[in-house]
Amino acid sequence: MGAGGLNTKGRHTQLGSGYLSCTSAFSGSPQPQPCHPNDILPLTLTSATQELFGCRCDEDVTGDNPYKILRKEDIVQDMRMRAAVSDFSPMKQLVLDYPEDELLLVYDRDFIYGSSFYLVLTADAKERHLKPVVALGVEVALEREPSEVFAAQKTSEPQPWISLGSEQEIEEESVTDSRPRLKYRISRVRREFGAPIFFSDRNAMETKDGFIECTPYQDKNFSLKQMERHTGVQTIPNLKSSSTQTQWTYPRSMCTQYEPREFSEEKKENCLQSEKLKNFVNSVASRFEIAIQQNEIMDVFFDDWKALSEEDSGYGRKADPHLKEYQSFTDLHFSKEKTISNINWHPTINGVIAVAVTERLSFEDRINGSTKLLLNPSLILFWSFSDPINPQLLLECPDDVFSFEFCPSDPNIIVGGCMNGQVVLWDISTHVEQLQGTRTSGGKNIAANTNALNETPVVRYCAVSGIENGHKAPITDIQWLPGTFEVSRMGVPMENKNGICVQIVTCAPDCCVMFWDIRAPRVLQTMADQRKQKVEEKPLENPHGVPNTFKHLDLTWKPLIRVSLPKIDTSGEYSPLKISLRDNTCDNHTGSNAGEYLPSLFLRKTRLQLVLSTTFCPQDGELVYTDWKLEKDNDSGRLFSAKPSHRFIIHDGQVNTVRRSPFFKDIILTVGGWTFAIWKEGVTNGPIIQSSCSQKKCTVGYWSQSRPAVLFIGKEDGNIDVWDLLEKTHEPSQTQNITATQITCIKPWIVSSKQHLLAVSDHLGTLHILEIPWTLRSPSSNEKLSMSKYFEKEVDRLVYFEKRREMRAKEKKDYEAEELRKKTPPVVQVLPLKKMREACNFHHRYT
């Protein structure tokens, strides 16, 4: 009966045209029955039924058109005809109950409800199906028009609520009274309200359950031991941080002044008187005496070995004691047929040396050749070691210069004395750089120099004294007064506070010694003169390129003081050749104490000590010593100089050198004739040392700059004698031939501690530079001391001899007196006479 199996492949027939619904009964197939709404009934129709009702699958009803309207009557008839076979028989009653005449059969193509067809049971459902249908998530695609869809969604009709089981949950959650509520009523007597309360203690232990306690128990959770733990470990350096509060100190200038504690006089006296001091001194004095005497006897710390070796090393190291030729300068152009009269090293620039070149003519020849001489100007040549061929600078002189000097305080100023008696000044400050440059640059710049300057620059003199004011004879010696000295118009030596050399002293054989001042004369000028000068100065040009340093002196220079030295014994005056001044000033290095020093300085030295070598005829020379001071002659009011104190004639020729030793201020060397002599100031008996006569004439002499005992003597045969006074005094310690002609000038110079040079000029005009060997330049130990002792010994010798001389003279006198008396009749006794004679004999024999 309607057991239409779920055979979709098969065709289903349908029965009648009614609306039927039947439940699908599945036999054996475990297919879950889908839920279906109540108003539809899934049903399976056999193919016979399907043909009968015209709802064959896929022919009459398709997926697109699954609706089939069946008439109720048809269905009923089918049911009558086929009764149990009819597919609609299970739902007979439903069909009969259906209100309407037509039932809807829907082809359920996809078996949504479990069967191939379902029957819609209610009219509403039918309406619903035919009209827009509620989407049940099914692919029941009804052909509807889009407008119907929209219209349907907008106006959704309220549907009856479908219970899905949620009301049961709500019911469970809601709280409802499960039983009727109980009511209680409690009452109490009114008077018991607000009654005082009395508390009393009650032991909790008395009654059972009087208290409830909560006993502590060990919670096992806390005694759990963690057996394993997973952590990371890292090693770090041990750090420790700590802090302090530091006190900030800021620098503050502070000073402490203290002075040593001293006792007052009384306290000192008290101490000295005390007994304790006496005991102390007595006990201690003996130790001192021993110690002091030990020292006096012998110096225990003196290293004999070392002292011995020093002398030996001198010989071992450099055996060659000769002066070695270092360089020689001669100029073919300028110094041909000329001789060099004077040499001077430049005081500041190393390696620059100046020579004065003069004509080698005698007086008559000069007069005869004077015209020729005028054409060749006299020159001072500057040589530099870097250029041996060309002189670096030429100084033009009005006439031959016999002596010239660099100013010690300003090496750019050179003063020279000419043959005609004029004093000349040069200022080479413009050429100094060139001179310095040639020295330092050496080889590199020589080419440049020769290209740039084809000729040597010539510097003209910037000031020259007036001819009538100067000397009347060739100036033979010219010197700068030391910078701390100055001589006033009155001839009183004074302190020169500037420290600059401003005064010059010259001497010439015209019996004059002149003092010159290079500062502008402070002459009172009238206004007219001043105006005139100003007018003149402006257009005045510098025709020769000469610096204007000494413009004020040019041609009008007059000596400050003119001094003539009267002779001691006879009348007349000395004609000086060379001067040596004693440098009496002491070191003024302590500038701060200058104020205190000054008065004492010049109080001590109010006199100028001069030693002059003079000549009174060309063949003889004498030495004059004077403590010079100008005096005022009371009668005429003129100033004249006092007579010199001493004079000596010991040299047989002109004394051409008077030089002080650089180590001893009072030792003077004089060279003249065939000998040289050494003098000491204050010893007026004679020279303390005098050399023996040499074969040749001695022309010049000079002290060694580094060794107190060494002198250099130049000879007229071109030899240089080196005398070492501590070695031998009867002959020179060595002789060396330098040149063939006479040596005219010697000047040593210390370049550095390793290099000492000796400049030697000869009569032919050649300048030789020699190097002084180690033996001659390094002093032996205690050389100065030995020399001073030697000089003292010599002085003692002189004194002794003097005394002896006196004694002898006295004895001689006595002897003569005695002889005289002998002629007269003797009155005296014989014995004393005999004794006297014996004494005289004795003396004669042994003196």
């Binding site: 040593p260 001293e262 102390f280 201690v284 004095a285 130790r287 005496e289 110690a291 002091i292 020292n295």
Partner: protein
Amino acid sequence: MAEVEETLKRIQTHKGVIGTIVVNAEGIPIRTTLDNSTTVQYTGLLHQLTMKARSTVRDIDPQNDLAFLRIRSKKHEIMVAPDKEYLLIVIQNPSE
């Protein structure tokens, strides 16, 4: 007093002696033949040195004590004799 003077003078007149100074325990000069600044300088320095020398000697051997101190320099020799309360300093130039 005169004795003290005499002794000191005797020391002073030896050959080469430059000066003598008598100093008390605190280092204050009592008597000197040199000028003030030099005296003060010598006193100050030598006093300290003597104390140091004495403490050195006593450190080595506490029963010992410093008897005499001689300082030889290139130029001079300085001799110091210490005592409980005084110090005598003599400066001598030994050679020449």
